[in-house]
């Protein structure tokens, strides 16, 4: 019952889409030495086979549209279908068409920038980065350029990240040429202030924080942290992965952050698409604005235009102007909700998380850092249960599991983010399932799932001898 690969459905000479009526001869157009000798072994299928193949694959896949999907740190909220229609309206624009013929698109970008600046409390913004981690890189490159511009580029060689940080934070710092130092979390799950003080200094370029952090806890001493950073000349970076918890209620800018990236595919309903494309705009305070990548969308007397004349810019992190069609979706979301709607969404995201936390505790799960949770929380199963087995058991019961084994500071971590678009009874059904798992025989758990399209896969084999293409022997 294994599902055929598209290559296995291929038949020599079969044709799907034919877009060209009179096909010119290659040799008449291109010198022979440039021509491909062996055609690529692409599948040869008719259109119905194509449709059955990908429709069939989609039926072997779950998503938010099918299933509760409380993947911590990923904000798997509902993606309005309205936005897909919205994006279609702007699909047919070329990045190099005369800007006067793209005033609607440029206005939308400019307006979105204004909205995001207002929501984050930042002074300037770029919409260019293509994802969250890409935004991180952009932000750190901006900080780097700032320090270099001030003559401190050679001394500030370290980026600090909490031990609970997303892996992308240290990876980003490395990509930007920095050394990474970890700050431990204190007993309440927030940054250990004393440890931070010890690390801060003229060798530090930036501190990267997620707030609320990956334990789902708001860093209550954030104003002190930002003051300390300011005093030490350290730029404070806001990882926006968790902005959904506080949007409209509190702004990174007001907390003293110098740079913010946003994940439009988390907070602002751009669909995750199985892993992208996302969008990671970066907002900065005024002192960092000169370093933003080019171009920026500006409003002039003759309309909106692209500003390339930014001599201190870090240059570019992506071709063109970012994932524009993602921006359209985020614009639509903000215009639909307005400030009150965004605040309500954030509050209900928090309420859902806190409610589910209570339910899970009742079922026997522990929450090691049980502070005032925001949009997510990190639970632990009772002694003797493996997070992995519980995840697989959940699959059998029809739920997508939470993020497991993250953050690293909690053993057997189950990081649960229900989001505000889930209904109370869904949370309750999930808690029931989580409770039921603890009563299953050990063997059942270790072998789950059973009725999914495939069961547990041999990961070791894939790692040892990866087969990465169909034609690989």
């Amino acid at each position: 019952m294994s599902f055929p690969l598209i290559f296995e459905r291929s038949r020599k000479g079969r044709r799907g889409l034919k877009l060209v009526k009179a096909v010119p001869k290659a040799e008449d157009l291109i010198p022979k030495e440039h021509l491909r000798e062996v055609p690529p072994r692409l599948p040869e299928v008719d259109e119905l086979t194509l449709v059955r193949h990908y429709t069939g694959l989609s039926r072997r896949q779950v998503g938010v549209d099918t299933t509760f999907y409380p993947l911590g740190s990923c904000t798997m909220k509902y993606n309005p279908k309205l936005h897909e229609e919205a994006a279609r309206l702007f699909a047919d624009l070329h990045p190099y068409q005369d800007p006067r013929t793209a005033q609607g698109a440029l206005r939308l970008m400019w307006e979105l920038g204004e909205y995001l600046k207002a929501l984050t409390g930042m002074d300037a913004i770029t919409l260019e980065p293509a994802a969250g981690a890409h935004g991180e890189l952009t932000g750190i490159l901006i900080i780097r350029a700032y320090h270099e511009d001030r003559g401190e580029g050679r001394t500030r060689r370290v980026v600090l990240v909490p031990d609970s940080a997303h892996g992308s934070n240290p990876a980003t710092a490395s990509m930007a040429g920095y050394q990474v130092r970890e700050i431990p979390s204190g007993p309440e799950g927030e940054v250990d202030l004393e440890a931070l003080k010890r690390e801060l200094g003229p060798h530090v370029a930036a501190l990267m924080l997620t707030n609320p952090n990956t334990l789902g806890l708001f860093e209550r001493r954030i104003l002190e942290i930002s003051r300390l950073c300011k005093e030490a000349g350290v730029q404070l970076y806001y990882d926006g992965a968790n902005l959904n918890a506080i949007m409209g209620w509190a702004r990174p800018g007001d907390m003293g952050f110098d740079v913010v990236h946003l994940n439009l595919h988390k907070t602002f309903t751009v669909p995750h698409g199985g892993g992208g494309p996302g969008s990671g705009p970066v907002g900065v305070k005024a002192h960092l604005a000169p370093y933003l990548p080019v171009p920026l969308v500006e409003r002039g007397e003759e309309g909106f235009y692209l500003d390339f004349d930014r001599p201190k810019s870090i240059g570019r992190v992506r071709s063109f102007y970012g994932n524009f069609l993602a921006l359209v979706r985020a614009w639509a979301y903000i215009r639909t909700l307005g400030l009150e709607g965004l605040k309500k969404a954030a509050a209900l995201a928090v309420l859902n998380a806190r409610y589910l936390k209570e339910l899970l505790k009742e079922k026997g799960y522990r929450v090691p850092y049980d502070g005032p949770s925001m949009h997510e929380f990190v639970a632990q199963p009772p002694q003797g249960f493996r997070a992995l087995d519980l995840a697989k058991g959940l699959l059998e019961l029809g739920f997508h599991p939470p993020t497991v084994y993250f953050p690293l500071i909690v053993k057997e971590a189950l990081m649960v983010e229900p989001t505000e678009t889930e209904a109370k009874e869904t949370l309750e059904a999930f808690a029931e399932a989580m409770g039921a798992l603890l009563k299953k025989p050990k063997e059942w758990l270790e072998n789950a799932p059973y009725s999914t399209p495939v069961r547990r896969l041999d990961e070791l084999r894939a790692n040892r001898s990866p087969k990465l293409t169909y034609f690989d022997e």
Partner: protein, 438 residues
């Protein structure tokens, strides 16, 4: 006008359960100084009004269907069948397939994508996608530097200037040195490759549309212990000799030409193909075939120790979210067309570009710039500022004359043709250009 399911009663009940008095109360532990600042956003709107506003904005754009604009994005046919299949909610609303048992759809489709990209590139493997062509290039070059342990990069000026800008930003961050090889007569001259050079980068067709002979570059790079990185348009690989056949170690490029909407520049996807020997240095996701406990074939993310969420500061890249859905659309396009269909689209584009070239040269004052052989776009030297020409053409309903940066010469503009252009379209553009330049 929001997407929350909670009734007032449910909110009350849940608040009671969590011991909070109100929704505001959930934020009571935040510093008072920063709580609930005034924020200026437009009033919320019902969805029909949002759509109206969007339509109003959309009406302020002149759609670029059948544009003659080049420069890394072109107006190709976007097959409705691909759009319809990619719009399936399961593809749209899943995330990274960490749970393979319920993610075989995305995983298998990605495995198939990897195969198709490797085939196009004439290389052994490909990753699951990058953000775009430019970042794929940057990551490809970083891979080459890791693999060679060197810090020098030779880049042809024929590589898209925006790609080079991105490459520069990425390389400067890690202290690598970028040296540009200026074009000579529209093509890349063969360089001396020094011992500090870890990567030599050439684009084919190059930014001006000209075909490059990649073989000698690969040889020169290999001779000096460097890797050869080729930037390629995947559509062109339906007919052109693939990077692998030229000896390239790494091939990168942007997927827009594979039937993706232009979307004012994105999202598209970047591809990155290479040799299996470099797999452990490869950034980004990889899907491998394997088997489940019952021996059934299945697919799974593999070699995750390269990735940031496992390896953190030692990861090969910080990339996590990539361009899964648009890459899937690229794969669907390739499957819909097959090798023949792809070849036909590519050849038709080339044919129409050549006809266009001949026609536009009939316009007084227009001179050729891109040398032959070129592919489906080319630069012309215009007697006027290309931005003004582009604008004047737009006023006549034509999108043409992508201004070429000054570094390539004065008053240059790119023109492209695709499978969508018919003879009458070319003639109409010629007439419009005549008017504009008269």
């Amino acid at each position: 006008m929001d997407y929350t399911p909670h009734t007032e009663e449910e909110i009350r009940e849940m608040l009671r359960r969590v011991g909070a008095a109100s929704l505001e109360d959930l934020f009571a532990h935040l510093p008072k100084e920063i709580l609930s600042p005034p924020i200026d956003l437009p009033e919320p709107l019902p969805e029909w009004k949002v759509l109206e506003e969007l339509r109003r904005l959309a009406a302020q754009n002149l759609p670029a269907h059948k544009a003659f604009l080049g420069g890394g994005v072109r107006s190709h046919h976007v097959p409705p069948v691909v759009q319809a299949l990619a719009a399936r909610g399961e593809f749209l609303t899943a995330y990274t397939p960490y749970q393979p048992e319920v993610s075989q759809g995305v995983l298998q489709a990605t495995f198939e994508y990897q195969t198709m990209i490797a085939e196009l590139a004439g290389l052994e493997i490909a990753n699951a996608s990058m953000y775009d062509g430019a970042t794929a290039l940057a990551e490809g070059v970083l891979l080459a530097l890791r693999e060679t342990g060197r810090m020098g990069v030779l880049v042809s000026q024929g590589v898209h200037p925006e790609y080079r800008a991105v490459l520069r930003a990425y390389l400067e961050a890690v202290g690598a040195k970028l040296l540009t090889l200026p074009l000579e007569g529209g093509r890349t001259p063969l360089p001396e490759v020094g011992e500090e050079v870890g990567a030599v980068v050439v684009q084919n067709p190059n930014f001006l549309g000209a075909l490059e002979d990649l073989g000698p570059f690969a040889e020169a790079a290999h001779g000096a212990g460097a890797l050869f990185v080729a930037v390629a348009d995947p559509l062109s690989l339906g007919v052109l000799k693939p990077p692998g056949a030229y000896g390239a170690d790494i091939a990168v490029g942007d997927g827009q030409s594979l039937g993706l909407p232009m979307g004012f520049g994105g999202p598209h996807f970047g591809f990155l193909a290479t040799k299996k020997a470099f797999v452990r240095q490869l950034p980004g996701r990889l899907v491998s075939e394997t088997v489940d406990v019952e021996g059934r074939r299945g697919f799974i993310l593999t070699l995750q120790a390269r990735e940031q969420y496992i390896r953190r500061a030692k990861a090969k890249s910080n990339i996590t979210t990539n361009a899964q859905l648009t890459a899937l659309m690229g794969a669907m396009y390739l499957a819909a067309l097959g090798p023949e269909g792809l070849r036909e689209v590519a050849l038709k584009s080339v044919e129409m570009a050549h006809k266009l070239h001949a026609l536009l040269l009939e316009v007084p004052g227009v001179r050729p710039f891109t040398p032959k052989p070129f592919f489906n776009e080319f630069a012309l030297a215009l007697p006027k500022d290309p931005e003004a020409v582009r604008r004047a053409l737009a006023e006549r309903g034509f999108h043409g004359a992508t201004p070429v940066p000054r570094e390539y010469g004065e008053n240059l503009a790119l023109f492209a043709a695709t499978e969508l252009h018919e003879e009458e379209d070319l003639l109409a553009l010629r007439e419009a250009l005549k008017e504009v330049l008269a």
